[in-house]
Symmetry: C2
Subunit: 343 residues, 2 copies
């Protein structure tokens, strides 16, 4: 692979007639080394083009400075923003990220877990697939006390931090808003009720109905994979309902957009006939017509917080047991898709 020989601390030591130990110490700015020799050493290091060998160091220190990330898919606006936030913090702290996608497959999630375990990552940041039931594949990390943080799609795992927004509250506000606009027959599009985010959103929706004395209807709950196509399919079901629902609260903007477009093609007017609220504040929400009312979900910030938290823990500057759940702020953003014109 390489041509020129790599420069090592031995080369530096020989050239300066000092020991490798001193060089090693100087390079990591150990206060025990005198300023003078430190300067000599770092100057020579630059001159000779020395670069430290991470593998030798990792082998020696038993740390990797690497963080594993497992996510369902990277190519959504929300998730790529999360990753961008993580990358931002990790890079500035000298950590590398190994990112792996489960593609919503439990099997792949398990496989990725094993790969990352074998890579001896220092910590793990995870957002679960729709269907993950057992958390047994994380046991090896727990046993080795490798810190594990769940974000967005979390799970109840003892001693693991979770980073979330208040999905219950967000859904409650969204639904209450629709009711305040005079809507009563509110459909809810969501995903399987295995993941906290969808469970909590459904609960928030139910509570909002209950608080306004609107009976909950099971047939108003449509479960799918929240893709744009799923939204279009849901539109067909909604159209068949008698009477026609007057609002839809969707657990994801993309799915909401798919549903809106399909309904519009059927001649249904938004928001006059059916009002919409989405979730995530995906850029597409300001492109669709009418613009989509949604919940702002700070992905970039969530990525930063997750990475920061994990690294603080790895550096010993925070105890993961002390902070078990971190809730980020989220808010309802009102746009035309849900606002009824004054009569």
């Amino acid at each position: 692979m390489s041509n020129e020989k790599e420069v090592t601390i031995y080369d530096l030591a020989r050239k300066l007639n000092i020991s490798v130990a001193t060089v090693s110490r100087a390079l990591k700015d150990d206060p025990v080394v005198s300023k003078k020799t430190k300067k000599k050493i770092s100057d020579l290091a630059v001159e000779m083009g020395y670069r430290s060998n991470h593998f030798a160091r990792n082998l020696r220190t038993q740390r990797t400075n690497t963080i594993g990330v497992i996510i369902p898919r990277i190519n959504s606006y929300f998730m790529s923003s999360v990753i961008a936030g993580m990358e931002n913090i990790a890079t500035s702290e000298g950590y590398n990220l190994i990112i792996s996608q489960s593609s919503e497959s439990v099997e792949k999630e398990v496989a990725n877990t094993i790969t990352l375990f074998n890579n001896r990552v220092d910590g793990l940041l995870v957002s679960l697939t729709y269907d993950t039931d057992s958390l047994a594949h994380f046991d090896p990390f727990i046993r080795k006390k490798v810190p594990l943080i769940f974000f967005d799609r979390t799970a109840d795992q003892k001693d693991c931090t979770c980073i979330l927004i208040n999905n219950w509250k967000a859904a409650y506000e969204a639904t209450t808003h629709l009711i305040s606009q005079g809507r009563r027959r509110i459909v809810h599009l969501t995903a399987t009720q295995k993941r906290n985010v969808y469970i909590d959103r459904l609960e928030g929706y139910k509570q909002a109905l209950a608080d306004q004395r609107i009976p909950f209807r099971e047939d108003y709950i449509i479960v799918g994979n929240l893709s744009q196509e799923a939204g279009a399919e849901a539109a067909s079901r909604i159209r068949e309902m008698q009477p026609l629902p007057d609002a839809v609260f969707v657990a994801n903007d993309n799915c909401a957009v798919g549903c809106m477009i399909a309904l519009k093609q059927m001649g249904i007017r938004i928001p006059e006939d059916i009002a919409f609220v989405g979730f995530n504040n995906d850029p597409v929400s300001t492109v669709v017509e009418p613009n989509l009312t949604t919940i702002n979900y700070p992905g970039y910030e969530m990525g930063q917080v997750a990475a920061r938290n994990l690294i603080d823990h790895l550096n010993g500057s925070s105890n993961i047991h002390s902070t078990n759940t971190i809730i980020l702020r989220s808010e309802l953003i009102l746009r035309e898709s849900s606002v009824s014109r004054q009569p």
Copy 2:
């Protein structure tokens, strides 16, 4: 960090009363080891929960099984698709990806380059910032013969593979299409003319005009950062033009959408007054009204091809010098934003 002691090949060797050399060979399926002992060893390895230590191996073999990726930003649909494709191939081939963002800053690109160099990545996949002029920061890789592949935003660097679509042709077809719809005053929204993709698109646009005997007008070229906001700003400039342009070819869907929305708010009809063609086939192109004609740009596939190519080269199964440029297929997708109604 850890509780239980890690199992090493020494432990396996001791337990079986054989040498570590044999264990090491057996574990990597060296044909020189007898089937019998191989089986014994791998069984015990599983039983004792052995996992190989990448760092010791990397230290010994001077390879890292890690690929560095430098991109402008991860959180765009195109780029996150590229990353998804790379991850897909890399994971299945036992490679890890270190992804770093330059955020369109040359300084950050240089810094990332250094970081990845110090990480001793086996190879590098790069898409340049808008403004990168000098390629000197890649010299260390060239000197060490670390393979370097550019994709999308490429550069002329000797001995480096480039992965691209035919931007010239795509732009030529887009522009010719607009002309075929009766458009003559075609504005082009693009980015700084430092990167191949934007240079080639402009050239394709010019050639299409020339072939139809339409004079090129410098004032029809609007240069920006291709963000949605830049599109909105461009809309203001376009509105001031006398006479009003009758088409816009934009080097990026997001920017096109920003421009379309702004123009529509000014009361300009699309495509009646101004037709639009974008670039990338971002999902937003099927949400904006009217749906945006665009160039399909296969991001996921590009990521796969880039990773596959690099890994093949690392495995010695392909020579990077033999394939200098890879062109992926792209095509014009017609939608309502550019199609004139028959008179």
